[in-house]
């Protein structure tokens, strides 16, 4: 349809409503060869009108189309990678909200992590404290039980009795007096004195824990040496008792005394710790 003269190029400049609308009720006067078309004819017309023509208007249209394409591309690019500077106020507020929300969330996380860290730290502290305490306790109990050597200030009590008059009960009294005076570790003739220690007499031979003790009897005690010495030498005390038996006792205070004898604990067969 409308083959040859379809170009309505310059013959109706009065149709000014088209670019911005192309109102359907078109004046009948510009029915040149065109008019409204439909279907295949419409496609053909589109192709024909799009063919390059060497008119100035056509060149202008091409330029405008290129400009439009470039503008679209630029705008798309601009929209995609615009930074804070090009954001609108509401966008900025939203970004700010996001950031502050995120910051507060991270703040809370930091607080939680710090609390955890502090807890772990203090846990480590109490752990090492507990280990310290336990070590001290082990030392104390080891000294009391006689399983480890001990050193410290104390006295050395030497009983010389050529008549063998000093018997088990007197040694027992010595131990009792020393304990009363606060002795923490006692050694009699090389035998460590512990809770289960027993003293005996075997035909004039003194035995401690079943082991014979050579005379003169040397008793070492670690504790406050003044207290221990005075406890031994008070009137009616050990020194006087021994002297009454015809023997002699001498006390030597030492600032550093070592007791290296050990007691081998027997395993408990009946007693179990109360949980």
């Amino acid at each position: 349809m409308t083959s040859p003269a379809e170009h309505p190029t310059n013959e109706r400049p009065e149709r000014s409503d088209r670019g911005d609308g192309a109102q359907p009720p078109k004046p009948p006067k510009q029915r040149t060869s065109s008019g409204s078309v439909e279907g295949a004819a419409a496609w053909r017309r589109l192709l024909r009108i799009g063919r390059p023509r060497a008119t100035r208007a056509n060149a202008l249209a091409a330029v405008l189309a290129i400009a439009l394409g470039g503008a679209i591309a630029a705008q798309v690019k601009l929209t995609n990678d615009r930074d804070l500077g090009q954001l609108s106020q509401s966008d900025l507020i939203r970004v700010l909200d996001d950031v502050s929300l995120r910051a507060s969330r991270l703040d809370q996380q930091v607080r939680e992590l710090e609390a955890t860290r502090d807890r772990l730290k203090s846990g480590v502290g109490t752990g090492s404290e507990a280990i310290d305490q336990a070590t001290k306790r082990v030392d104390t109990l080891g000294i009391l039980a006689g399983t480890i050597g001990a050193q410290g200030p104390g006295i050395v009590l030497t009983i010389r009795d050529p008549d063998r008059a000093v018997t088990g009960p007197i040694i027992l009294d010595v131990i009792q007096e020393l304990r009363d005076a606060g002795a923490e570790a006692i050694d009699i003739g090389g035998v460590r004195v512990v809770a289960s220690t027993f003293v005996g007499d075997n035909d004039g031979t003194l035995t401690v824990d079943g082991a014979g003790v050579a005379r003169p009897v040397v008793i070492k005690a670690i504790g406050d040496r003044k207290t221990l010495a005075s406890a031994m030498s008070i009137p009616g005390g050990i020194v006087e008792t021994v002297r009454q038996k015809g023997a002699s006792a001498s006390i030597a205070e030492q600032s550093t005394l070592q007791i290296t004898s050990l007691h081998t604990p027997t395993p408990m067969t009946h007693a179990k710790p109360v949980p």
Partner: protein
């Protein structure tokens, strides 16, 4: 063909060259693009209605762009830039839709 080719060429050139839009142009470019698109669709519809005119197309294209930019400028000056821009976009969008509907009826008879 020429307008479509021009559009494609422009798009490719724009994407390849990565033109930096001047600051003063940035507020007006989106609206101007919408207005130009409206002119283009109007032109296609005019072709199918048989009332196309190159000169009118060029003039309406340019005037659409200029008027759209001017409206945005005026809105910015009056402090209602965002609202006015929205209004212009809505109006142009409606026109584009009605033009496309008309083109569709021409081309597909539906």
């Amino acid at each position: 063909m020429i307008p479509v080719l021009g559009l494609v060429v422009g798009l490719v050139v724009g994407l390849l060259l990565d033109p930096s839009v001047p600051i003063w142009l940035q507020p007006y470019l989106p609206i101007a693009v919408i207005a130009a698109l409206d002119a283009v669709f109007g032109a296609v519809r005019a072709v199918l209605d048989g009332i196309f005119n190159d000169k009118v197309f060029v003039v309406s294209f340019l005037s659409n762009v200029v008027v759209a930019a001017f409206i945005v400028f005026l809105g910015d000056q009056l402090g209602v830039g965002a609202q006015l821009s929205t209004g212009v976009v809505v109006v142009l969008g409606i026109r584009i839709f009605s033009n496309v509907a008309s083109i569709r009826r021409h081309l597909f008879k539906a």
